[in-house]
Symmetry: C2
Subunit: 361 residues, 2 copies
């Protein structure tokens, strides 16, 4: 109980060597006789000694921590189911490396930049994982100035040198549009995310491209902030169009769920009167009725790869960009051929009378 924690000197004494040698051994440096090495390891094991992170941090000017700072407007703060899974992925590699994750959640840009600066200047983290990339993201300049390594989720713009881990959601959006076109839709709307954000912009561009490819009207696009509320509002505007879409592609699942709510509120049958697709494959998207056709990615794997990439970058001063398997179309119940194309909707018919595909027990 009261026994003080062993230190490196205790181990050295027990093994009959100097502190330096113990340090060499635990840091896997070459040039230690195998038997000496083993003796030291045994001593450490018996004493239950592990090098103190604080002491190592002071000597090495390294914190053995990685930083993640998330900026969310207050009301959006719980909107994104991406992070818990992503963080679980980060964690799975950090834990085995004896590293730790320092997480910060802030609500405005000023606090965000201040947080990066403080964490870096105080050497509380050895590097950052950058999510929610913006176009002309000010963080890159700051981090370069601070001289701290980072890895970006998604491809930042020109002139940015940090390694990036990206997942091609272009093909997911294209797949969704092809799916809808294949079903016979000719008026397809898009509730886009925040155009200031890289993934918001890219999904929208992918949509535009796929629609142009299909030779369809590409004007049914409304930009939002990625929030459920924004998705609901955009859906209303799209449906208020005198010649409304028969299908809407949403840039994320929460907006699609909210859009579904709006459609149902108006008495539209989904998918008969309006097909809806989400993006991300969040848990809940499979439990609303009808279950949402969506595009799935693997945030846990994304976290793992991001952590590994950042650690490699920190260790070697360089790391290759990584391209994850592209997001995949998951067809469920919320998409079907359009009931009609003239934009005038028939009165709703109860779900029970609809012969839905899903026969749940």
């Amino acid at each position: 109980m009261g026994a003080r924690k062993p230190n490196i000197s205790d181990v050295a004494r027990k093994a009959g060597v100097s502190n330096g040698l113990v340090s060499f051994v635990v840091n896997n440096r070459p040039g230690v006789a195998p038997e000496t090495r083993q003796r030291i390891l045994d001593a450490a094991g018996e004493l239950g000694w592990r090098p103190s992170p604080s002491a190592r941090s002071l000597s090495l000017k390294t914190s053995f921590a990685l930083g993640l700072v998330i900026r969310r407007k207050e009301d959006l703060i719980s909107a994104d189911p991406f992070f818990p899974a992503f963080i679980a992925g980060l964690e799975s590699v950090l834990a085995s490396e004896g590293r730790v994750l320092v997480l910060s959640v802030v609500s405005d840009v000023a606090a965000e930049l201040r947080t990066y600066r403080t964490l870096a200047e105080d050497s509380r983290v050895d590097g950052f994982i950058l999510t929610d990339l913006q176009h002309n993201d000010t963080r890159f300049k700051l981090l370069e100035e601070l001289g701290v390594p980072a890895v970006a989720l998604g491809r930042p713009g020109e002139g940015v040198t940090v390694p990036c881990v990206q997942l091609d959601d272009t093909r997911g959006i294209a797949g969704v549009v092809e799916h809808l076109v294949g079903l016979g839709h000719t008026r397809i709307g898009h509730v886009a995310g925040d155009p200031a954000m890289v993934h918001g912009g890219r999904r929208r561009e992918s949509f535009d491209a796929a629609i142009a490819e299909a030779g369809l009207d590409g004007t049914l696009v409304i930009e939002t902030d990625f929030s459920a509320g924004g998705g609901a509002e955009a859906t209303r505007r799209l449906l208020d169009n005198p010649h409304p879409p028969t299908a809407i592609v949403y840039a994320n699942d929460p907006m699609a769920v909210a859009g579904l709510g709006v459609a149902q509120r108006r008495g539209l049958r989904v998918p008969d009167d309006l097909s809806i697709t989400g993006f991300d494959g969040t848990d809940i998207s499979g439990y609303v009725f009808p279950a949402l056709t969506t595009v799935t990615s693997d945030p846990v794997e994304w976290g793992r790869v991001a952590a590994r990439t950042l650690l490699a970058y920190i260790a070697n001063g360089k790391a290759d960009d990584v391209e994850l398997p592209p997001a995949a179309l998951l067809i469920r119940e919320s998409t079907s051929p359009p009931a009609r194309h003239d934009g005038a909707f028939p009165a709703g018919v109860p779900a029970s009378a609809r012969g839905t595909a899903a026969a749940h027990k």
Copy 2:
């Protein structure tokens, strides 16, 4: 650029004092002449010096970090919108205290306990915030053994001495039941959370008590793991009852949303054929159709108070328990008087024909 970071000696030299004095000043210790004190502060300011956390950590055996470890089964990992807001609350007090949050997300109990132990033994955190309390929670014994402070969210069982910050959700559940009883419901079901968890158990007990109070049948209760999938399954079983409930009280919002999906899939009109209530007041619960009647709490405030309590506990060795304002009933669209009481449901009628209360633009 290349200028090395200033240290305490630079400041001391500039102010013409010893390192010790500088330390006294930045730590607000008494016994330093006011003008000396000011001179030192000025020097530090001009040099842009802040004491190094690593160095302080080594001297003080303190990490200036708080730990939060979240255990979630892989498939539940994105289910809980509580954490981002809660963490934002923690952050708001940690930042101003120069503290940092170390977050760990693990998927099983073994990894969880290992994480607490490692974080504590390596002095990577000064204390923990304990969420998702279990009955007979093994963490308390471990943390006591490790000698590290903690604060619990919710009231742990007997014999546990850590301070706790709790929010009375009993009244929220009671309020929901009273609301439903007031509407004329006599068969009210409950999709409960995990009975092994304190808040799951307590919400269920609150439900039982409120039902008994109303003199109703209390057998329509099914326990789940708090997941959307669990909520869907429980809803099916409840509705399969030969004499099904006309209202279902869910222990959280994701389950309620999933339950809504199940009801709609069966052609039930919500709320006419089945009233539904959620719990937590998550963003999305307001955007499904019909918008869910739910019970709201304030996770951001919860985070703030938890952080303050833990810091006080660490600083003073003791801290008072805190009781937050109770969760409040938020009546929206998913509850109404029961259409009929015999358990035989009429065929669904489209939402558009229903004269819903909410006239969205």
